[in-house]
């Protein structure tokens, strides 16, 4: 029996939205990174699903998802490294506190302390 493709798409969409929500709302940088992983994985589900039962089903989708996993692993490594460097420099990995690009310079300086 085959599961209809819409099931995969809905699951992927839900996962993507959960990830997006996490990226946009959580203040803890590790959670943000984890949420990004979630979004990448939801994309992988789509790729794999179309690769298995799409209108032009072939191996390309699976290969592509392998690339995504690889890049995601690298990204997680680099991300965590930046995160540690940030923590060493700023004593915080709270997203809200890192707003040096803001127009309000006074406020940015005050958040340095």
């Amino acid at each position: 029996m085959t599961v209809p493709i819409s099931y995969f798409l809905v699951l992927a969409a839900v996962l993507f939205c959960i990830g997006l929500y996490g990226v946009l709302t959580r203040r803890h940088l590790v959670i943000v990174l984890a949420s990004i992983e979630l979004m990448l994985n939801s994309v992988n589900i789509n790729l794999v699903a179309f690769s298995a039962i799409g209108p032009y089903a072939d191996i390309t989708g699976q290969v592509f998802s392998l690339f995504v996993i690889t890049v995601a692993a690298a990204e997680a490594a680099v991300g965590l490294a930046i995160l540690i460097a940030l923590y060493r420099n700023r004593d915080s990995i709270d997203v809200i506190k890192h707003d040096l690009l803001g127009t309000d310079k006074e406020k940015s300086v005050s958040t340095l302390q």
Binding site: L20, V23, L24, T25, V95, I96, H98, D99, L100, L101, G102, T103, D104, S108
Partner: protein, 635 residues
């Protein structure tokens, strides 16, 4: 006469010296001015003597050339301006001397003297000009100087607005004069007097054109010489220091208008209409100004209206072919009016800088020299034999009678009566009776130096009395230069070489009539203000409406304010609002839009990564939604 060009140069040098070193010289500035004017006076006397024995001297050089026409500059000593040079330098010199004392408490005395120097320079330059373009340049300079001097105490709002009024009112006349000059140049092709006379006498200029030119030139004289209806600036110009009033009223500024008519006289003679207009303007001005002088209580204002009235006399004489009569009166009037103004200045100093004659009185015994000289001036202006005013006024009446008509003559006669009356009203109220200003010295002293000597008025020092004595002598004797018994020497001098027609002379009965009228005026003033046999309010009580009308100067100021000033200001305000609201508004709107939108969107730029994320997600959603709608996915 070759050195006549030095006459205006001396005051100019004084002006320049005071301009650069006035601050250092301070009170000594006075001596620079006095020395310059004394030199000018000496050269003027020499020029006059040479001119009496010789011919007109003219020197011109080319100023600029364009195309085939060229403009010239230079100087000229004619009979008329030789006389004017004497008048201007004498009066100006005495005013300089007088001001040394009058202004010595003012810390801007050096500025005052530099203006006086520039004023004398302008007037002397105006008189010496050999062509009317050069005259116009100096004419404007004279206007500028009177603006500066009337507004000398610019920190007083009345003085500042009086200066503005004087400048703007005379400007109306100046525009007429300028248009007249342009027309004249267009017709004649030259600005030189000699060419103009020749062209007009040969009939080169057509009749309506001559009339137009004469009337436009006359408009300039109306503004400068304060003729009706542009006379309103002169009484207000009393806000200036009193010596300046003497200078403006006697030698410079207002004399320039009469001089202009005199120097352009052939043009006026060529147009019957223009002469009639001139005559009526003069007569009406003389009459109206005299009626206003009857009720004024400010000593300087009475004199101001009397000046307007006397200028009206001169213009009337010129308008009725009395060329010599008008200019003769210009000369005699210069002396006795300067005398009266300086006398008034002396009185004003003595009563602690007050000008209201109702707080004066009884000064006769306290200041002998001022009183006697003022009396001489008053007798002269009233036209009492044998003082200067008698001779010149009699000639004016003669020309009004012989060449004018009954109406002009009647007006002149009534004015002569009023002149005698208001002058002696002024004299009796100021110098006789009891001193009425002893009590409220503190209240009214106009803040002009705290160290004003309080208490009883007393005679001033020699710097102030010497000019009075000199002018008094001139006021007595100036009339003798045109005595009928010795064949009118001034007339012969002024008319030689000019084709001005016969000068009118009255018969003996006219002299007696004029004398009787003057005596009548004095007698009435004596009865009302000295003897008290007629109540002072007799006429005011009889005709309160007329009295009120006169006190308010026929409401002319109000009328001008309503008709000219208010609409002009309204138009100005309209355009100002337009500029502020629409032109500026548009520019400001663009600026404000840019800065406001910058500030608003700047707020979103807060450095919060997640905010950016939300915005870009929302943007993405919007883009996708639009794409869906456009492709019809939503039905």
């Amino acid at each position: 006469m070759q050195l006549a060009w030095l006459i205006p140069v001396f005051p100019l040098i004084a002006f320049l010296i005071l301009l650069f070193f006035g601050r250092l010289l301070q009170e000594k500035s006075a001596y620079v001015g006095i020395a310059a004017l004394a030199l000018s006076f000496i050269y003027s006397v020499l020029a006059l003597f040479e001119r009496v024995g010789g011919e007109t001297y003219t020197y011109v050089f080319e100023w600029m050339t364009f195309g085939e026409t060229s403009l010239t500059m230079g100087y000229e000593v004619t009979a008329l301006n030789a006389m004017m040079l004497i008048v201007v330098t004498v009066v100006s010199l005495l005013v300089h001397v007088f001001s040394r004392e009058y202004m010595h408490e003012d810390h801007r005395i050096h500025v005052f003297y530099s203006y006086l120097g520039l004023f004398s320079f302008s007037m002397l330059g105006l008189v010496l000009a050999p062509n009317i373009l050069q005259l116009f340049i100096f004419w404007e300079l004279v206007g500028l100087c009177s603006f500066l001097l009337v507004g000398f105490w610019y920190f007083k709002p009345e003085a500042a607005s009086a200066a503005k009024k004087a400048f703007l009112t005379t400007r109306i006349g100046d525009v007429g004069l300028l248009i007249g000059l342009v027309l004249l140049f267009n017709e004649v092709g030259s600005f030189a007097y000699a060419d103009i006379y020749a062209a007009v006498e040969n009939g080169m200029v057509e009749q309506p054109m001559v009339t137009a030119i004469a009337l436009l030139v006359f408009l300039g004289a109306v503004g400068k010489s304060a003729q009706f209806p542009l006379h309103v600036w002169l009484p207000d110009a009393m806000e200036g220091p009193t010596p300046v009033s003497a200078l403006i009223h006697a030698a410079t500024m207002v004399a320039a208008g009469v001089y202009l008519v005199g120097v352009m006289y052939p043009v006026f003679l060529a147009s019957e209409t223009a002469l009639t207009v001139v005559a009526y303007t003069g007569a009406i001005t003389a009459f109206f100004a005299a009626t206003m002088a009857l009720v004024m209580t400010d000593i300087k204002r009475v004199l101001a209206y009397s000046t307007i009235s006397q200028l009206g006399f001169m213009i009337l004489a010129l308008g009725t072919a009395g060329y010599v009569a008008g200019l003769f009166h210009l000369m005699t009037h210069a002396f006795f009016k300067a005398l009266l103004f300086l006398g008034a200045g002396s009185v004003i100093v003595a009563v602690h800088h007050r000008q209201d004659i109702s707080v004066m009185g009884g000064l006769w015994s306290k200041m002998k020299i001022t009183s006697v000289t003022f009396l001489i001036g008053a007798l002269a202006i009233a036209g009492i034999f044998p003082l200067a005013g008698f001779w010149s006024k009699e000639e004016i009446l003669a020309s009004a009678l012989l060449n004018g008509n009954g109406f002009l003559f009647g007006l002149a006669l009534v004015t002569a009566f009023m002149t005698a009356f208001y002058m002696f009203r002024l004299f009796f109220k100021t110098f006789t009776g009891d001193y009425r200003g002893a009590h409220d010295d503190e209240d009214e002293a106009d803040g002009h130096g705290e160290d004003d000597h309080h208490g009883e008025p007393h005679e001033n020092t020699g710097f102030m009395t010497m000019p009075l004595v000199v002018l008094a002598v001139l006021a007595v004797t100036a009339g003798f230069v045109n005595l009928p018994f010795i064949g009118y020497p001034l007339e012969g001098f002024l008319t030689a070489g000019l084709n001005l027609g016969d000068q009118p002379h009255g018969e003996l009965w006219l002299a007696f009539l004029s004398l009787a009228v003057a005596a009548g005026g004095i007698l009435l003033a004596w009865a009302m203000y000295y003897k008290g046999s007629i109540s002072e309010d007799f006429f005011a009580a009889k005709a309160p409406a007329v009295h009120k009308l006169l006190l308010n100067k026929y409401y002319l100021d109000e009328l001008y304010t309503a008709v000219f000033v208010k609409p002009t200001v309204a138009v100005g305000r309209f355009f100002w609002e337009m500029d502020k609201g629409i032109v500026d508004g548009m520019v400001n709107l663009i600026g404000r839009f840019t800065s406001t939108s910058g500030r608003t969107f700047g707020k979103t730029h807060n450095g919060q990564l997640q905010t950016y994320g939300v915005v870009s997600v929302l943007g993405g959603i919007v883009v996708i939604a639009i794409a869906f709608v456009l492709r019809g996915y939503f039905g």
